[in-house]
Subunit: 365 residues, 4 copies
C-alpha cells in the first residue's frame, strides 16, 4: 500500500531520484522459466531515452540497465531464465552534474509537483525534479520489457496519434511506419506537419500536449475480472500514473458518449474454426472488465510540459511572489517519449491480470 | 486482491446479485466518531434509484438500506456514531420476480459482459444480469454516503454535462439547478433540448451515451501521493470501475493535449491571509498525484446501454449464431443515474487518501 | 489493508458486533463451480456453538447461517454452486438482551481489550464485548466451511491436546475419538482427567488455558511461497488472529530448539510409485514456506479467559481505581471451542495459497 | 501480494540471491524527515555478519550497505534525511566464488527448501542456497535500521535465551551483558555452559536449535488493530518468515496454556502522573491486537540447521536415492545470528503499525 508499487501478482516497485546515484525497480512475481536477454530489455530503454531527435530533450542519458537478481543464465551465457524470485534492475545516473540548484530549490515551478510535494512532505529533492522526474519512467520501461515475455503471444505496440490539434488520419494507420519517424507516428502523412509544427514550438521555447494510443494483441479472452478488478480499471490507473497524463480512454472512449446503443455494441458471430468473433471492437477488447480476446486499445492524453522559457507567475517556499522561467534543455512534446512508457504500463497490466487468472508459478502450462 | 473491494484504508467490499435475496457492502476503515443518520445515507440511494422520471428505467426498487454493524446510537436514538469497526450495509431485493430467464440464459447480449463472464467463470448468474447488474452500484452509493462524512468540510457534487452530441453551456453552470431537472443538468437551457432528444431515443427503444462531471471541494492540500499512489490514478481507477464507463479525465483532461505549456500551467500567487492560490485550475486540483487544495474535477464517459429493442447479431453458449433483442424496461441513458454513482466513487477515493495521509484512528484531530 | 479481512485470493472480510442485529462475512475469491449445501456449512457452526456441554458457556446462540449471494442452486434445489462472485453469509443475533450494561461500559476488565480499544478509538461498543467478542469467530467458521471445499481432497481436522498442565498421550491419538467427547480430545484416556479438572475450574468460577493442534491432509506439494509469502507465516498470522491465542508453532515447533540437525531434518526416499516421500515430518509439512505434500501440522496456545468470578484490580475510563468481577455465563476453557475455529483458519489459509499457486478462476482444472 | 514484501505502510521489498552480484531491499513508506547515518545502519549489519566468533560460520562477508535513493544529506554531509520516497539499499556480494556446484545442483539437502523450490518453480538457483540463503536477511537488518528511527523513543533489543536444552536463568537478565559475549546472552552465567556445549556441537559437525527473545520498549499504547490487523498477528507472521523459525509466542506464550485466569490477567492501577499502568505483563504488551504501552515481548524458536557433516538419506531431482553430507563452513547454531534479524523484524512491524495509526507523511507531529 505504500506508493511506489503497482500490480498485484506481477508487482513492480520503482525507486530512485533523478540526481541520486541510480534508479531502478524490483519486479516481483515474474513466473519462473521466462527467457530473455539483456539486449532485449535494453532495446525498450533505448526507445525511451532522450537525445534521439531534435524534438526531444538533448540531455545525455545512456540508461544502461543492469539485472542484479532473479535470473540464471542459459548455457549460451546470454539468455537469462527467470527463477521466480524478484528481478532487481538498476540504471546508474551518469549525467547528474553537481550544478547549482539553489535558484529552484525554493521556487515552485507552475504546473510541476514542487508545491504539492512540499505541502505533503515538507522536504523535497529539488535536484532535477528528484523523484517526480520523468527519469523514474525508465524503470517502468525495463519492467515492461519483462512483462512482454510473460504472456505467450502478447504483442504490445504504441503510437502517437495527436500533437496539439494535429491528429493523424486513422485510415493511413501502418504499424510499420511507427519506427520510421521521430514521433512514433503510424501515419507517414502527418510527419511533415508535425515536424514543422514542433519546430515552431521548440524555437519559441514553448511546449505542446499530445495523445498516445497503445494496443495489445494476443490478450487471452477471460483475463481481467469484474467489478473492482477490471482490466480496464487497472489500465486506466496505470496509464494515469504516468507523469503528465490527464485522461485515459478504452476502445472508443469518450466518443461512446455520442453514439447510440445500436452503433456501439459489438455484434458477434461464429468465426473460422468455430471461434466466437466480434464484428467490431468499440469495446477496446474488454467487456465487464474481462478481455474479449480482441485487441485491447487504450489512449491517454499528456499535458504540455510546464518547463518553458516564458516567465510565469509563481510563489516560493518562503511565501514570496516570484516569476519563474525554466531554463535548460527540455522536451517540446513529452508525449513522444511517452509512447514506450505507455506500452510498458499496458504490458505490465496485462501480465498482472494474466497471472491472476492463471496462477503464478512454474506449472502455468 | 480479490476483485470486489476498492480502497486501502477506507475499504469498501460489495456483494450481491441483482436477483438474490439482497446485496450490500462492508465499509472497513471508517474512523471512529463519525456521525450520520440512516436518512442521510438513504437520501443518496434515493437519488440513484430507478423510476424517478420517464428518462430512466421504470423498474420499482425501493433500495432501502439497513446498517447492521459498526455504529452505536447517540442519545437522540437516531444519530449513528461509527465505532471504527466495519459498517455492514444491506439492501434487500424486493422486485426479483421469478420469471422465465431461459431465453437469455444462453444468449450473449452484444455489448454486455455475458460472453466474457462465461469465458472466465464457466458459470454465470444470468438472472437480471446477476453480479454485473447496475444494481451493484447501490452499495457503492451507500458507501459514498459514509465517505462524505469522513473528511471534514468535503463537498462532492456531480452533474451531467453531455448526452449524445448535446453538451451543456459551461457559462450557464449553476449547481443549484442540478436537482431541478430529471437529468442532473447544471445548465437549465439544455433541459428542453435533452428532453426532446431523449424522448426520441426512448420511443425508438434505443439508447445513448453521456458524460458526467464530478467535483470535490474542500479536499485538503497534500492528500494523495506521487508515482503509483496518485490521487488522480485512484480516481481514474474507481470511476472506470463503474459499469459502462469508457473514459476518464482529470481537470482539462484530453483538452490538455491541444494547448501549450503557457496556456496549461496554473500560475500561483499569494492569496488572502497569505495562503497560496492557483490562478486557474487546469490541473483539476491535482499536481504530481497530490491535491493542491483547489477543487478536484473529473469527468467520465458512459457508453449507451446495449439493452435496446433492435435485433443485434450474436451467438449463444452452444456456439449457435442468434439474433438478440433485449425486451423490457430499460434506461435510455444510463448516464443520468451514473451521476450519484460517480459522486460516491469520488467521495470514497478522497476519504481513502485522506486517511492514508492522516491515519486511521480516533486521534485524527 | 483495513483490518477486518484476511487472505489475498481467498479473501474473507468479517463484520458485526456481539449485540448488533447480525454478524457475518464476505468470502471474496471463491472459485466458480464449488459445490456445497447450507447444511454442510451449518454443521461447522454447530461444532463451535455454545451450550453443548457443561464445559462451555451456557449461552443460547443458534448461529443459523444464511447465504445471501455468490451461489446458484443446482437442479436438486439444495446444492449450491459458487459462481465466482462474493459469497455473503449472515448470522442474525437472537440472544442480544437489552440489559443494563452501564456497569461495564466504563470499567476495563483486566485481560480484555477494553482498555486498548478505548485508547485507540476513544469509543467502544461495550455490549457483550462488541466487536472483540468471540462471536466474531462464527463468521470465520462459516468461511472455513467454504474453504474446505476449494482444495480437492483437503481434510482439515483439529483436536485439543492440552488443558492446563494436563496433556494428552500422543501414543493414544485416534481421530475417531475427537467427536466422542466434549473436549475434541483425540486421546480417550485424558477425558476423565479433563472432566474432573475442568469441573473444579468451573465450580471455582475460574478459567484455564489450553493448546489446540490442527492438521491438514491433502495439501498439494508446492503451494506456499518463500520469503514473505510463506505458508507457515500465514498460518501463524491467521491462528494468532484468533482471540486469546498467545503462541503458534509449526511441526515440532519450540521442541526444534532442543534437538540436533541430525534429529530434526526429515530424510527423504523414493516411495511407492516413484513418489518422493519424507521419512518423518518434523517440518510439519512445510519447508522454506512451501508445502512438502505431507500433512501440515500447527499448534496454538490459548490463554485462560479473563472473565472470572474473582475480583481483580483495574481502572475505569474516568481514571478511577476499581475492582472488577465478571459475572454471568462464561467458558471455563475457551480452548475447547477454539478447535473448530483453528480448523477454519487453517482451511482458509490453505485455500488462499492454493489459489495463489493455481489461479483463481473456473479453468483451474 | 507477490511474495517478497512485508508491511503495509512501512513496506519492505527484498531481492537478491546468495551468489548474484548483489542483494538489497527497497523500504517504501519511510516518512520524510527521519535522520540517520550510514554508520548507524551498518552497525546493525555488522552485528549479523558472519565470522565474529568460532560459534558462527567462518565465511567472510563484509556486508557493506549502500543507500541509493530516498535521502538527502544534511549540511554535515553525513546525516541522511529521508524525503518520503523509497529508500533503496544494496549490499554487494563479494565472496561468491565461482566454485563447482554441480554436486548439489540436483541433490535435495534434507531439511532445506531445495525440494520444495523445485516442486514449485521447476528451476532453482542452487548456488549457495540462492534466494533461500540466510544472506537474504541482511536486507531485513538494513531495513530494520531505518524502522528503529521511525517511532520516536522506540528501543528494540534481543537476546538468546535457549540453546538446545540449556536455558538462561531469567533472574540474571541483564541487557548490558548481551553484547559482552558471542551469544547475545543476557545471563553471564550461561555463557561458559553454552561455550562448552557449542564447542562439542561444532567439533562433531552437528548443529542445534535455539530460542530468541525480542523486546520493544517505547511502543505507543493504541497502535495495532483488532481482528485481522493485530499487532501480535503481524509480529508472528514476520518472525515466522525468518528462515528456520518453527514457533512464535507473545508475552507468556505457550505458558499461558498452563495457568488460570486469575494468574494470567494483568491487573491495572493508576500510576504516577495519573497514567494507567499494568501490574504485570503476561500479555506481552498487547491486548486484543492493540499495544498497551508496556514492552512488547516475543520469542521464536529456530530449528538446527540441516547443514551437517553426517550423511543423511535423500533423493535427487532425477528421482534417485542418494546420501547427502553438507560440507563447508556452517553455523553450528543459526539462532545466534537470528538475534539481530528478529530485532529488525520486530522494529519493522512496529514502525508499520505506528504509521497505520498515525498516518504516513511529514505532518505526523
Amino acid at each position: 500500500m505504500s506508493h511506489n508499487s503497482f500490480g498485484h501478482l506481477f508487482r513492480v516497485t520503482t525507486w530512485g531520484e533523478s540526481h541520486g546515484p541510480a534508479l531502478g525497480c524490483v519486479v516481483d512475481g515474474c513466473p519462473p522459466g521466462i527467457r530473455f536477454t539483456l539486449a532485449e530489455i535494453q532495446a525498450w530503454l533505448d526507445k525511451r531515452k532522450p537525445g534521439q531527435s531534435r524534438f526531444v530533450t538533448q540531455r545525455r542519458e545512456d540508461d544502461l540497465v543492469k539485472i542484479l537478481s532473479g535470473v540464471m543464465f542459459d548455457e549460451d551465457g546470454e539468455t537469462m531464465i527467470s527463477t521466480g524470485t524478484p528481478i532487481s534492475m538498476m540504471i546508474e545516473n551518469t549525467d547528474q552534474r553537481s550544478k547549482d540548484y539553489s535558484e529552484i530549490a525554493k521556487r515552485y515551478r507552475p504546473g510541476h509537483a514542487d508545491y504539492t510535494y512540499d505541502v505533503k512532505y515538507g522536504i523535497r529533492d529539488y535536484r532535477g525534479g528528484g523523484r517526480s522526474s520523468a527519469r523514474e519512467t525508465a524503470a517502468r520501461v525495463a519492467a515492461g520489457g519483462i512483462a512482454r515475455k510473460v504472456v505467450p503471444g502478447l504483442v504490445v505496440r504504441g503510437a502517437l496519434v495527436q500533437i496539439g490539434k494535429h491528429r493523424i488520419n486513422r485510415a493511413n494507420w501502418d504499424w510499420a511506419e511507427v519506427n520510421n519517424n521521430p514521433f512514433f507516428a503510424p501515419d507517414p502523412a502527418i510527419v511533415p506537419v508535425w515536424e514543422e509544427y514542433l519546430d515552431g514550438i521548440r524555437k519559441a521555447g514553448s511546449s505542446i500536449g499530445a495523445v498516445v494510443e497503445v494496443v495489445a494483441e494476443g490478450v487471452p479472452a477471460g483475463i481481467g475480472a469484474p467489478i473492482y478488478g477490471k482490466l480496464d480499471q487497472d489500465i486506466a490507473a496505470n496509464l494515469m500514473s504516468i507523469n503528465a497524463v490527464k485522461g485515459v480512454e478504452i476502445g472508443n472512449g469518450f466518443a461512446a458518449a455520442e453514439i447510440s446503443g445500436e452503433e456501439n455494441a459489438d455484434e458477434m458471430r461464429i468465426g473460422p474454426g468455430g471461434k466466437p468473433v466480434f464484428l467490431s471492437n468499440n469495446a477496446g477488447g474488454i467487456l465487464g472488465g474481462i478481455a474479449t480476446g480482441h485487441p485491447v486499445v487504450a489512449r491517454f492524453a499528456i499535458k504540455p510540459t510546464s518547463s518553458i522559457l516564458t516567465e510565469r507567475r509563481s510563489i516560493d517556499s518562503d511565501g514570496n511572489e516570484v516569476d519563474v522561467r525554466t531554463k535548460g534543455r527540455h522536451d517540446p512534446c513529452v508525449g513522444i517519449r511517452a509512447v514506450p512508457i505507455g506500452e510498458a504500463m499496458l504490458a505490465c497490466t496485462i501480465a498482472d491480470h494474466y497471472l491472476r487468472d492463471r496462477g503464478q508459478t512454474g506449472r502455468l502450462k
